[in-house]
């Protein structure tokens, strides 16, 4: 891969001096240190992650947002585009789905807590080992 000269403005003076000092300690140039840092930065995940479209989930999202704005709390159970229910607890949701399953043989349901959705990350100990 070729090299390219880049001139950068507004680099933090303190950061630059520390990079320069550390690079000297390691016997590398500042450019090499910057290349290393940029390569590491590119490995980090981007915050926006593409997700497969799911109509039932989309509907649950819309309904949850609407209920939240109206001051409602608890859970929404969505079983089809036209059928959804409000429950107070997860246990209540399960009892309801059980009833609907025995009566109508529903094939799928989505449970959604009425609150703004947050992106959550699970901490996995083994890194990539467990998927090999």
């Amino acid at each position: 891969m070729g090299k390219r000269n880049v001139f950068l403005r507004n680099i933090d003076e303190k950061v630059y001096l520390e990079v320069k000092a550390r690079a000297a300690l390691l016997g590398i140039t500042v450019s090499e240190a910057v290349n290393m840092a940029l390569r590491e930065w590119l490995k980090k995940p981007i915050t926006k992650i593409e997700v497969k479209k799911d109509d039932l989930r989309d509907l649950a999202e819309k309904l949850a947002n609407k209920c939240y704005e109206e001051g409602k709390r608890g859970y929404i159970v969505v079983v089809s585009e036209k059928e959804h229910y409000l429950c107070d607890t997860i246990e209540e949701c399960i009892d309801l789905i059980k009833k609907l399953y025995s009566e109508k043989k529903i094939k799928r349901s989505i449970i959604r807590e009425i609150k703004p959705k947050a992106l959550k990350f699970v901490e996995l100990g083994g890194g990539g080992i467990e998927i090999i």
Partner: protein, 131 residues
């Protein structure tokens, strides 16, 4: 109540495992699994994708945005589902997670912290005490 289980010796080095029953709370479809004890996993139970179909867990799916990050780099979206886990009289309704690339079920700290767990490495045995 105490129970003992041998490590999984098919892996090198051998790995502590616990056999638990997972039950779909809606239709009662259930299966026994040998889950790897993973104290580095912060949540409850991580299941390979095959269990989503096998236990009809599309019936108890929860709309959440959960991701696993592997090696600090590779993000994978997980499905959240509700299941019962059973272990020798202990039964609890929990949120479990389905991972599309996972090969073996993992039991994390949110469940392990409910028991006394002794890893007898030299004897390749796990001792579990359910209070």
């Amino acid at each position: 109540m105490k129970l003992f289980e041998h490590y999984d010796t098919s892996s090198t080095p051998p790995t502590p495992v616990l056999t638990i029953t997972i039950v779909n709370p809606v239709n009662n479809v259930q299966t026994k699994i040998r889950a790897y004890i993973d104290t580095g996993f912060s949540e409850t139970l991580l299941l390979p994708e095959e269990y989503y179909e096998k236990l009809y867990l599309m019936l108890t799916e929860v709309d959440e945005d959960y991701y696993a990050i592997h090696g600090g780099i590779f993000p994978t979206q997980l499905k959240t589902v509700i299941v019962y886990i059973e272990l020798n009289g202990f039964k609890k309704l929990i949120k479990a997670y389905i991972h599309p690339y996972l090969k073996k079920p993992l039991l994390g700290r949110s469940i392990l912290n409910m028991f006394y767990l002794y890893l007898k490495g030299l004897e390749k045995t796990v001792e579990v005490e359910i209070p």
